[in-house]
């Protein structure tokens, strides 16, 4: 039963891929829409936390995102309230055996870099928009994704946290491929 469902699902996925040509931005969107990124690239006045949900029958993985437990807020510069900063708990590295995640300059991305709920096209445009992305051209964007400590943390999140799809090096290769192709954006 489960095997049949899996096979049907895989077939369906294959058919979908065939029906819809893959876009060079797709894998990048997959990464950016992972909770490791989204939890701090919010449109809200607060960061979120997430819980992994695995469907007991299909095995499908989804993430339930919810407001950060301690009523943490974004604050003026994304580093939390002056009275309870992100750094009150989050260190420059994961601590307590990775149960408390940490990386240098742990903070929320500015509201202009909110990615929640965007479709791939919107996400792509937002990413490239220098008015929104901190004035980064494509080269600077690649450098940021390649070197920024907080971005890199997404692949070493500690504890039992999932990492985004694709190894970090592969993600950078895919990003460079997309840039080399002229950084096209999908329409949806």
């Amino acid at each position: 039963m489960i095997r049949t469902a899996l096979v049907t699902g895989l077939l369906g996925a294959a058919l979908n891929v065939a029906a819809q040509a893959p876009h060079s931005f797709d894998p990048i969107a997959e990464v950016l829409q992972h909770p490791r990124c989204l939890n701090c690239h919010t449109f809200t006045e607060y960061p979120t936390q997430s819980r992994k949900m695995v469907d007991p029958i299909s095995g499908e993985v989804s993430y339930l995102r919810f407001r950060h437990a301690q009523q943490v807020i974004r604050g003026e510069k994304g580093f939390g309230a002056p009275t309870l900063q992100c750094g009150a708990c989050h260190q420059d590295e994961n601590v307590a055996d990775g149960k408390v995640p940490g990386a240098p300059h742990w903070h929320l991305a500015p509201l202009s870099m909110g990615w929640e709920g965007l479709n791939r096209g919107e996400l792509c445009e937002t990413l490239k928009d220098t008015d929104k992305n901190g004035g980064r051209d494509l080269a600077a964007l690649v450098k940021h994704m390649e070197e920024d400590a907080l971005v890199l943390w997404g692949w070493t999140p500690g504890g039992d946290r999932d990492t985004p799809p694709y190894a970090h090096a592969d993600f950078i290769d895919l990003l460079k491929l997309w840039v080399a192709a002229g950084a096209p954006c999908p329409t949806n």
């Binding site: 437990a69 301690q70 009523q71 055996d97």
Partner: protein, 748 residues
């Protein structure tokens, strides 16, 4: 109500070095202690000027008056946050007419015979212990249990001071009065301090029946005095057990069974030796004791040790399966504990039925468990925050093979208890004693938060089957069946003897259902499984009252009655119940005619010789996806606790109960999967935080009744009042806790 032990028969006064007096009881010491640290007084937060070395700590004392006119009250009950160290001194100081600014407290040694709570007189079942009561701080008994004996002690000493002054001044006792630690001869304007009279007063015989004040004469009782322990709880100076140190002490963490009942087979600590400060590990009955120089080294080393376990009976236990198991039990008759009218028949033919389910809960006191122990072969000192020091001392003595007189148990103020520190399994104290034997040097066994959450002794999993029938718009019959894992020994007795005994810890709150219904039947099942369980603040009242009060609203709706109106109708014979109900409705300005954008639910409960009605005001809004968003706006409580010795501390206990209850109502749940406890810390066992706490308003109704208990009183009604408020909006009966598990509810 039990008759309190009359301490007057046993009072004995002694003059002490430096000119003071000590009022003690006639028994000899069965325990001793070091000179305790000086404590705060009400003279806010100035350190006491009484010289702690002026006289030696003497066991068995209740009251000490020093030459510099300080009064120290030696308190038998434990301070777990509820205000014992303020309330008990207030009671003594009241009858003594002591200057509250010069009253201080000390924790008594562990000794049921001397310091046991008279409330439990007869509960011990054994000789002298039986007369003295247990030295247990539980069941909201501290103030109500010690009230009379402490008043008598204070009054007796005052009488002796008057007699001493009478001798000294050559005037009659009748011509003397007392005020704020002075005996006053109005006619001559002479004032003699208690301290100056104490030595002479010690020569007097304690009066057999000292006159007690009438409530109208009270100067302290009924006043909202500041806590005497507040200062050291705000400047970081109070040493809880976790902070207590003795010379050359090592720190021990225990690797305990991953499943309850599993047995340690083997361990490999080779990697732990890379941790600086690791000192080795020792097998103890509960697992493997890992020794380090301090907390961090023990914790780091423990992570490096691999253990293999022989799984016990708990291996297959998953809480997800319990629901069906308990419902099956509840489809069979249990042990009847109440049968009014044709109650037994009503249990068979109820036309409206609901099955309730309540999860395991952990106490999670802020200060995790810990025991500091110095075992020296022939004797032993233990420092520990305990709600049951005399038994903890006895259990430690038993494990160590010592007479109990060789165990000096120093009870410390606890960072919360909620029942966990009065453990019927005596788990932490037994373990510490075993560790002390194995390690054989001064040590502290510490529990991490994970150890605490996963350590068992939970509020038992419970299911209730409520069943009722209506006739002519009235509730004609009511039955309540409880299946709960038992706390006490009755299931063992059942197994051994085949006799079924009533388990009060299961039936409470169901048996006492207060409404005037003709046919009532209550029966209980005691279930045994491998999960260790224990009383948690308000015990079975929390679960049974939830079932009673939510089912009541459900029936009221079926009967076409307003829940307030039907409650009033069925409580006409119970004026104190009715009074708290009416008071809380008035506080919230709620009548059966109220029409506004708020939903309200009420619940009512009486126990511990106190009564409470609580009302939850909530906004409940249906959202697009069909779920209901609930915002709890305010919780009102009307309390009748008889004489409120310190009203502000009564209010604090009610507030505390509300927050505790909301934590469990909204998200409190311990789950087991294949025998392994799923939760581990405050991220997956959340408790209420500041932003989730609604406005709270509490009113204490005036009363001259003797004091009732309040430590647990604020807990049981909160969840049903909340569920009833939501029921008023959605019409859905919420039959299991925590409410957050309900996919149709979203709490703001």
């Amino acid at each position: 109500m039990k008759k309190p032990l009359l301490r007057r028969d046993f009072l004995r006064a002694t003059a002490i070095a430096g000119g003071g007096m000590l009022v003690a009881c006639k028994w000899d010491s069965d325990s001793s202690s070091d000179t305790p640290a000086p404590r705060g007084t009400a003279a806010d937060n100035t350190p006491p000027t009484a010289d702690p070395n002026a006289e030696r700590w003497t066991p068995n004392a209740f009251i000490r008056i020093s030459a510099d006119n300080f009064v120290t009250v030696i308190v038998g009950a434990a301070e777990i946050g509820q205000g014992t160290m303020t309330a008990i001194p207030m009671i003594v100081a009241e009858e003594l007419d002591a200057d509250w600014q010069r009253v201080s407290w000390e924790q008594s040694p562990a000794s049921a015979i001397t310091y046991g709570n008279p409330f439990w007189q007869g509960e011990g079942g054994l000789g002298d212990l039986d007369q003295a009561g247990l030295q247990i701080t539980a069941a909201s008994t501290t103030v109500r249990g010690y009230y009379t004996s402490q008043r008598r002690a204070g009054a007796a000493v005052r009488q002796m001071l008057l007699e001493a002054a009478s001798d000294q001044l050559g005037v009659s006792v009748d011509s003397l009065t007392t005020r704020e630690s002075f005996v006053i001869h109005e006619a001559s304007g002479t004032r003699l301090s208690y301290g100056s009279l104490a030595a002479a007063a010690a020569e007097k015989s304690p009066p057999s029946a000292p006159a007690l004040k009438s409530p109208g004469e009270f100067r302290l009782i009924g006043q909202s005095k500041q806590r005497l322990d507040a200062r050291e709880k705000t400047d970081g100076s109070l040493a809880y057990g976790f902070d207590f140190e003795i010379p050359d002490m090592v720190t021990v963490m225990v690797i305990r069974a991953p499943r309850f009942g599993a047995i340690l087979q083997s361990s490999d600590d080779s990697a732990a030796w890379d941790v600086e400060g690791y000192l080795g590990s020792h097998r103890v009955p509960s697992g493997l004791a890992v020794v380090g120089t301090d907390f961090w080294s023990a914790e780091q080393a423990r992570k490096q040790i691999k253990t293999e376990w022989l799984m016990g009976s708990g291996e297959g236990l998953s809480t997800a399966d319990l629901r069906d198991q308990f419902d099956t039990r509840n489809s069979l008759p249990g042990l009847p504990v109440r049968n009014d009218g044709l109650g037994v028949l009503s249990s068979l033919n109820g036309e409206i039925t609901a099955d309730y389910h309540f999860p395991y809960l952990a106490h999670a006191p802020m200060e995790p468990l810990n025991v500091t122990i110095d075992y020296r072969g022939s004797e032993c000192d233990i420092w520990c925050g305990s709600q049951w020091p005399d038994m903890d001392a006895l259990v430690a003595a038993t494990v160590l093979g010592l007479p109990v007189t060789a165990v000096n148990f120093h009870n410390l103020l606890s960072g919360g208890g909620f029942g966990r520190r009065a453990c019927l399994g005596f788990d932490y104290i037994q373990e510490a004693a075993h560790v002390a034997r194995a390690v054989n040097r001064p040590l502290k066994v510490v529990w991490t938060r994970e150890d605490d959450i996963r350590g068992g002794y939970y509020r038992p999993y419970t299911a209730c089957r409520l069943s009722a029938s209506l006739a002519g718009g009235a509730i004609d019959s009511w039955s309540h069946r409880v299946a709960s894992q038992t706390l006490l020994i009755s299931p063992l007795v059942e197994v051994a003897t085949g006799l079924v005994t009533e388990e009060v810890q299961t039936s409470q709150g169901a048996k006492e259902m207060p409404y005037a219904i003709l046919n009532v039947y209550v029966d209980t099942h005691s279930v045994i499984n491998g999960v260790p369980t224990l009383w948690v603040r308000s015990v079975a009242n929390a679960t049974n009252v939830y079932a009673v009060e939510t089912f009541f609203d459900h029936l009221a709706k079926q009967a076409g009655q307003h829940p307030l109106t039907l409650r009033r109708e069925l409580l006409t014979e119970k004026p104190r119940h009715l009074a708290v109900l009416n008071a809380v409705a008035e506080m919230a300005n709620w009548t059966p005619q109220t029409q506004d954008n708020l939903y309200r639910g009420v619940a009512l409960f009486a126990s511990y010789e106190s009564l409470i009605a609580q009302l939850v005001e909530a906004e409940v809004v249906e959202q697009n996806n069909g779920t209901h968003k609930v915002a709890i706006r305010k919780i009102y409580s009307a309390v009748d606790c008889g004489t409120a010795v310190n009203p502000d501390l009564v209010e604090a206990q009610i507030e505390s109960g509300i927050v505790f209850a909301l934590s469990s109502a909204l998200f409190g749940e311990i789950e087991l999967e294949e025998g392994v406890v799923k939760q581990s810390n405050f991220h997956d066992y959340p408790v209420l935080r500041m932003y989730q706490t609604p406005a709270i308003e509490t009113r204490i109704l005036p009363s001259d009744h003797s004091p009732g208990g309040v430590g647990e009183l604020g807990v049981p009604c909160v969840a049903p009042a909340l569920a009833n408020a939501i029921y008023a909006a959605t019409g859905e009966l919420y039959t299991s806790l925590p409410l957050n598990n309900n996919p149709s509810l979203v709490f703001e």
